[in-house]
């Protein structure tokens, strides 16, 4: 297939030929000097540049620097910049052949206002000129974080960011939301760029093809896992539409820009990092320990269909006609009240095991006056706490830059990763390890084996939970390459032309194999006859970004920066999968399958997105800036009637503390910096819109002769991206020379034209139509504050707090609809409530809030509320009992009210202690596992009923077997938690001779969780990275990780 956004090799060669021809000559001179802070302490690692030239240097550990190159006589501006300090510019005169000796003093700026931020693929701006907050993460922190996933690193380090680890799988999926949920149907994940190249962070289902109808679920790894965090220099996070307008139709959820490491001028630096980690189950769930079961004593294993499956919430089954129970009347008959003794087991010891992991990394980097290079290789292998799971990754990275002459710079980067994920069936499936464990009463000795060494059946129709571990082999292998080439031309002062071309390409192969189960009479949907699947995915995304900028002073006090650019993206994917069952023995490939029960699934997709933008920034002195920008966007996914979409942006900033009156006031002695900012902007979201969703498709089927099958969904040639409009305001403040600092933002996001599959009246002849309907908003507050209670030469103590608060509310859906449910779950978008709210049946209650019980042949049992479905109001009959149809209400919200992170960092000389505590609060989770486990009998509520502490039939009534439908309210639980997320102790040894330094780090991650939630982990989510949040169906708990690393520099 041909690429549709192409560039030609010949053109590149032509340009390069032109570039190398231009040269010029200068004399040799030297700038040298020393950089210190206000207290005279030398500063290492300061970037010293001669302004408007290509010359730069970095200060050494004693603060000294040398710029030994060619200069003509004249006055130069030397600029010194360093993270955490205010940039200093000093004028120096130099004459040919002489050397200059400088002393530069830098002032603390903990807010990093001078930090250069990339605000558009090729546009660089100082933070202080931006009307919005931008978070920057120093990726070096990863060595203290105890995670091998970039997303894990971002946890608790982003203003307005909410990072969730959805699964405890070693390659477990993470999701990141910036300022709340951004979409009802599409994804709320931000746009990711790596070195200016748009990269995919999707989660492809490669090995759980039998997941069935819940196709919007996105479980498994998110593809950010292919990036080795050690290769990353820093991450910049742009939170909302106000800042992201210039990125266009895919940026409404914010933008995360990853910048990889580059070689620095100087001696080659070799870094070797090696770590080992131990993963274990953080907390266990409590299981039924009461050694009795309801019913009649029977065989220890229920092999044949004639045996009675006793579940606490159902009748025995077959012989109930002759020997009915004596308890409350359920839909299947009278429940048993008699009990018989059994042995109760705890299966957790057989499902989980502690696991080890290791992470090795080696890099070589360096550079000269003209060129720099960076090379690295890495290997990661991590074991999962569920038996038989693991993740490994090999990575290679190469990048280099070359200064062709004094106005042309080129660069290129290449990253390759090979990762392999060993998994077990995903959580939602009944035959996943925890799913199967939850679905089996804990009265069987599941690890007992027959003489042939095979596992044995526990109950007919059902699965031995250990079979989920022993018969399933799921593997996903990914090969990924991300490449970029860039060129920057600065032919004239103030003018720059730059272009980035890049490609993100990966191929995935998923193989699932499930052996035949060695026992009979298992339900066919559990694939007792064996199962095999193969899937392949090829994904490619091309990015082209071109920008021309012109910066010029306007008179004495004003300055202008103009940027015009073009951005084009081309996406292509091809997916192919086949499933088979009824396997021949010994063979683990598709060839074993005697029954290819589903037709081959193949999906191809191609899409282009393009946009043109223009941005103008006017500055007054260095404390007042106005920024205006706009972008026109088009895409092949937009309806043919739509054309282009316009995204405007405006920002204003004002550094009050730079004004004369402030500087002269007494106030300035302790209130050092006050920077105010405000911005407005729009950006689009295309994630809810597939490449071909605008068409009314009639897909082919293999039903006998073959044909085309009518679909529920009508196409829409007017479909366009969702639009987020955002207002943001905030301030950055610094007190007591950086001993105390704070930064906050307030925002309001209005999301309109939400892409929603409108559920029509089916009598329209179609069932759904994708349309731009509905609105919602996010409003919130984010704060980052901190300070140094103690700070002296040998000892410092820094406290910092990150606090994000967001409120989401759906304000309208389509006409006449107040609720749009997500597929397969009891949650969705409810007008007046946050997206994803649980909307389900609830307990009928008396006016005083106590449960309104129903008398079922003498047993007083809870029941679901009933009433008028149109008004959705409860109704009572003459006896005061609920009457009407079962009704639903909003029972909870999976979006947290706030997230907070408290970090304490103590340093004594070279010893460092860092403790990060995360609190996520004010959200609920729907614990399906809780309902399942009690219905089956292994839960604690079931235990209470067995012990007689709860009325017989209570579990069955909640489980929908006696008094009405399942009462889902019982499953909705508060999921607030406080976690000791990271605790690290490190020691830096300065090294001798060839060794430039060694750091020893002991880290604990997810050490301890305080929560009232009764599942494994309130952070996880069965629906993975999808829009469906707060679901617990056999979720894999997040392991407790202890890691020891040594980082050596040569």
């Amino acid at each position: 297939m041909r690429r549709h956004c192409s560039f030609h090799l010949l053109q590149i060669i032509l340009i390069l030929c032109c570039l190398v021809l231009s040269t010029s000559a200068f004399c040799q001179s030297e700038f040298k000097g020393k950089v210190t802070n206000e207290s005279g302490v030398p500063l290492a690692g300061v970037t010293v540049t001669i302004k408007d030239s290509k010359y730069s240097s970095i200060s050494d550990s004693s603060g000294n620097f040398i710029l030994s190159t060619t200069f003509t006589s004249g006055t130069y501006i030397v600029s010194c910049s360093h993270k955490g300090y205010k940039t200093v510019e000093q004028h120096f005169a130099i004459s040919e052949g002489t050397n200059a000796d400088l002393l530069v003093t830098m002032k603390i700026d903990v807010l990093n206002m001078e930090e250069v931020i990339v605000t558009g693929n090729a546009i660089y701006t100082a933070r202080k000129t931006l009307g919005n907050a931008v978070s920057t993460i120093n990726a070096d922190e990863v060595k203290y974080a105890g995670t091998s996933n970039m997303s894990g690193l971002m946890n608790g380090r982003i203003m307005g960011g909410y990072v969730v680890q959805n699964s405890g799988d070693p390659g477990g999926g993470f999701s990141l939301k910036l300022r709340g949920v951004g979409s009802v149907y599409g994804s709320s994940e931000p746009l990711y760029l790596i070195d200016g190249v748009v990269m995919d962070n999707g989660s492809q289902n490669m090995v759980n093809l039998n997941l069935g109808a819940n196709t919007r679920f996105q479980t498994g790894n998110n593809r950010l896992i292919d990036i080795n965090p050690h290769d990353v220099d820093r991450i910049e996070v742009i939170n909302g539409a106000a800042a992201a307008a210039i990125y266009g139709s895919r940026a409404a959820n914010g933008v995360v820009q990853i910048f990889t490491r580059k070689g620095k001028k100087g001696k080659p630096e070799v870094v070797f990092s090696s770590s080992i980690n131990y993963n274990s189950l953080g907390s266990r769930i409590e299981v039924n320990e009461y050694p009795f079961r309801f019913g009649k004593a029977q065989k220890p294993r229920l092999d044949s269909l004639g045996d009675n499956r006793t579940m606490i919430f159902q009748t025995r089954g077959k012989d109930t006609t002759d020997h009915p129970g004596e308890g409350p009347r359920s839909y299947s008959g009278l429940l048993d009240t008699t009990r018989y003794p059994v042995t109760r087991y705890d299966y957790q010891d057989m499902i989980f095991n502690p696991a080890w992991g290791t992470d090795q990394y080696l890099s070589v980097s360096g550079g000269g006056d003209k060129a720099s290079y960076y090379l690295s290789g890495s290997y990661l292998d991590n074991g999962g706490i569920i038996r038989g799971t693991g993740f490994s990754r090999y990575g290679l990275k190469l990048s280099s830059t070359y200064q062709l002459n004094d106005w042309v710079k080129i660069g290129a980067g290449l990253m390759y990763a090979n990762s392999e994920s060993e998994e077990k069936p995903t959580t939602w499936l009944q035959f996943s390890p925890i799913g199967a464990m939850s679905h089996t009463d804990n009265v069987y000795e599941i690890d007992q084996r027959d003489p042939a060494g095979q596992l044995m059946k526990v109950e007919h129709t059902w699965y031995n939970p250990l079979s989920s571990i022993e018969t399933h082999e799921l593997n996903v292998e990914t090969n990924r390459t991300i490449a970029n080439a860039n060129i920057s031309l600065s032919p004239w002062k103030g003018f720059n032309f730059s272009a980035i071309f890049g490609m993100d390409s990966y191929s995935q192969q998923g193989s699932a194999y499930q052996a035949r189960v060695p026992y009979t009479n298992v339900s066919l949907n559990l694939f007792p006859d064996g199962y095999v699947s193969e899937s392949k995915l090829n994904y490619q995304q091309w990015t082209t970004d071109i920008a021309a900028s012109y910066t010029t002073p306007l008179g004495k006090s004003f300055s202008s920066a103009t940027v015009a650019g073009y951005s084009g993206q081309y996406l292509r994917s091809e997916y192919l999968a086949q499933e088979g069952r009824n396997l021949l023995p010994f063979v683990k490939t598709m060839k074993a399958a005697q029954n290819l029960f589903n037709p081959t699934d193949e999906r191809q997709s191609e899409q282009t997105i393009w946009g043109y933008f223009l941005q103008e920034t006017i500055g007054y002195k260095d404390y007042f800036y106005i920024n205006l920008a706009g972008r026109f966007d088009g895409s092949s996914a937009f309806g043919s009637e739509v054309g282009t979409v316009f995204y405007p942006k405006a920002g204003i900033t004002f550094t009050l503390s730079e004004l004369g009156f402030w500087k002269n006031a007494k106030l300035s002695s302790w209130f050092n910096t006050l920077h105010l900012r405000a911005s407005y902007g729009k950006a689009g979201n295309l994630t809810g819109l597939g490449a071909y969703d605008r068409f009314t498709a009639v897909p082919p089927i293999t039903y006998y002769t073959g044909g085309f099958v009518p679909q529920n969904r009508l196409g829409n040639e007017n479909i366009r991206p969702e639009v987020k409009t955002e207002w943001e305001g905030g301030a950055d403040m610094q007190f007591f020379k950086g001993r105390l600092y704070g930064r906050f933002s307030l925002y309001h996001q209005q999301i309109d034209d939400m892409v929603i599959p409108l559920t029509w009246a089916p009598s329209n002849g179609y069932y759904t139509k994708l349309d731009n309907l509905g609105s919602m908003y996010n409003k919130g507050f984010e704060l980052m504050t901190g300070g140094y209670p103690v700070k002296n030469k040998n000892f410092s103590w820094e406290i910092s707090l990150l606090y994000n608060r967001n409120q989401n509310k759906v304000t309208s859906l389509s006409t006449g609809t107040n609720y749009i449910g997500f597929e397969g779950v009891n949650q969705g978008a409810v007008v007046g409530y946050p997206v994803g709210s649980f909307y389900a049946s609830y307990f009928a209650r008396n006016d005083d809030g106590t449960l309104l019980l129903k008398d079922v042949n003498g047993y007083l049992l809870p029941q679901a509320e009933k009433g008028d479905p149109v008004e959705n109001q409860p109704q009572r009959d003459v006896k005061g009992q609920p009457i009407g149809t079962p009704i639903n209400k909003v029972l909870g919200d999976p979006n947290p009210e706030y997230t907070a992170t408290l970090v304490n960092e103590l340093r004594y000389k070279n010893l460092r202690l860092r403790i990060q505590v995360d609190r996520v609060a004010g959200m609920e989770m729907v614990n399906y596992t809780h309902i399942i486990r009690n219905n089956i009998g292994n839960g604690k509520l079931a235990e209470k009923e067995l012990r007689g502490e709860l009325t017989r039939g209570w579990v069955a009534a909640v489980g929908g077997q006696i008094t009405g439908p399942v009462i889902w309210e019982a499953a909705v639980q508060d999921a607030s938690f406080t976690k000791i997320r990271e605790l690290s102790i490190s020691y830096q040894w300065n090294g001798i001779k060839a060794i430039n330094g060694m750091e020893f780090i002991l880290t604990g991650r997810n050490l301890f969780t305080i929560t009232s939630y009764d599942g494994y982990d309130p952070e996880t989510n069965s629906a993975g990275q999808s829009i469906v949040r707060g679901n617990d169906v056999g979720n894999y708990p997040i392991p407790r990780v202890i890691q020891f690393s040594i980082v050596t520099k040569f």
Binding site: L489, L524, T702, Y704, F708, T759, A761
Partner: protein
């Protein structure tokens, strides 16, 4: 120099600016081109048939949802295990059934979709089919599917739309059946002519369209209480001619896969779920056919018309035609003929039946009065037509004890209207209480 370089850079970039603006979906065609060719039309007919017959990624087939809903509400099946909310609601019945019940919503929507696509075929066939055999067959099948979708709705809802469109108006069940009858009458009146061989394969041979139209006419006239027409149509049906929905490895029998062998599925009730007064004779050979688990070697067993992945599901049974005639004669007070047709069902050996459904019992020996005969006819409908989606309607027509009566034999008379219909169509009538 700089100018030249920049010039080249810009020239180079203009090459990039040419992005392709539209792509054709390679995965699936749009509906319009399909309606413009004869191949497309017959291939759509295959798809319509698929939406009736098969449970696939696109949703559960109407046949499965109809049999399941009917089975739960008329006491034919037992829920296997909890966990499936929608089945659970149907099993509990009465006002436990929520208006967003997936089985009912899907059944309703599926029938509407089939109606819509059949109508599109009917509306476009004149412009497309040059060959008269082609045209006749497209018309016959499109009318058949449209009528069948309406007939399915008539089993479960008191009122429903028969023409799809914005804010579609509802007609009564009887009115709907009359419309279905008019489509079927039109179809049977069309001359019989075969389509060109290259297309006839798409129509398939598993459904005899004229025979099925007559059978459905008999069924619907009987539902309307028109006993004269019911007998007339039923007597035209060739009883040893099968018309079925067919299945293969990739389009499996939904009763077997999603019902009997599904962990949260269902199993038939013992004694056909009939009350003691209607208990089947232990000698009834249909017990072996419908209630004894049978299945492929090494796999969980199924029942009746869902014993394997490959079992066909009949659109009508010969026994139904006989029982319609028995019922119609008794309703016309012709007890002799009524008994004659009842006996032909009772005495039918399974080898004599094209589907191997046979009672192999002695002739009816009870009192020769209308009430007793009707009771026996009802009982035999429950057994002969077990799990065919007919029992709810039969229970109403034979005035068996309803949901609020003592010893009720069904948990609903009519289903509530799906919430999605109510939300999008102001003409949706109020929900029946039972």
């Amino acid at each position: 120099m700089k100018i030249t370089t920049l010039f080249f850079a810009i020239v180079f970039c203009t090459g990039i600016l040419s992005c392709k603006k539209t792509f054709i979906n390679p995965n699936a065609p749009e509906i319009d081109p399909l309606l413009k060719t004869p191949e497309g039309m017959v291939q759509l007919l295959v798809g319509i048939k698929n939406r009736f017959a098969v449970n696939s990624n696109y949703g559960n087939g109407a046949v499965f949802n109809s049999i399941t809903a009917n089975g739960f509400s008329s006491n034919e099946i037992n829920l296997k295990a909890g966990g499936n909310q929608d089945f659970g609601q149907l099993a509990a019945g009465r006002n436990t059934i929520a208006t967003n019940n997936v089985v009912l919503t899907e059944l309703w929507s599926n029938c509407m979709l089939i109606n819509n696509y059949s109508t599109m075929l009917l509306d476009n066939v004149d412009q497309v089919a040059q060959d008269s055999g082609m045209k006749i067959n497209i018309l016959k099948y499109a009318y058949l599917y449209k009528a069948l979708s309406i007939g399915m709705l008539a089993n479960y809802w008191k009122e429903f739309p028969v023409s799809t469109g914005t804010n579609a108006s509802f007609v009564s069940k009887d009115e709907g059946l009359k419309r279905a009858i008019s489509f079927l009458e039109t179809a049977v009146l069309l001359p019989t002519k075969s389509a060109p061989p290259e297309y006839s394969v798409y129509f398939g041979s598993e459904i005899n369209v004229n025979n099925t139209c007559n059978a459905l006419l008999a069924r619907y006239y009987n539902m309307l209480g028109d006993s004269i027409k019911a007998v007339e149509k039923a007597s035209k049906v060739i009883l040893n001619n099968r018309s079925v929905f067919i299945y293969n490895a990739q389009n499996t029998n939904p009763l077997y896969r999603s019902g009997y062998t599904f962990v949260f599925g269902y199993t038939p009730k013992g004694g056909f779920g009939l009350p003691a007064s209607l208990a089947p004779s232990p000698a009834d050979a249909r017990i072996a056919f419908y209630l004894v688990p049978q299945g492929p070697q090494g796999q969980p067993p199924g029942f009746g018309f869902g014993k394997t992945d490959f079992d066909s599901i009949p659109i009508f049974l010969p026994g139904e035609m006989l029982l319609i005639q028995a019922e119609a004669y008794v309703r016309r007070n012709d007890l002799i003929n009524g008994k004659k047709f009842l006996d032909s069902v009772l005495r039918k050996k399974n080898v004599e039946d094209v589907f191997r459904v046979g009672a192999n019992l002695p002739a009816y020996s009870g009192p020769l009065d209308s009430a007793s005969l009707m009771k026996e006819i009802y009982k035999n409908r429950c057994i002969e037509l077990f799990l065919s989606g007919m029992k709810l309607e039969d229970g109403r027509r034979f005035r068996r004890p309803g949901p609020t009566d003592p010893n009720s034999e069904r948990t609903r008379d009519w289903y509530p209207y799906p919430l999605v219909e109510r939300n999008g169509n102001p003409n949706t009538p109020i929900d029946p209480t039972n």
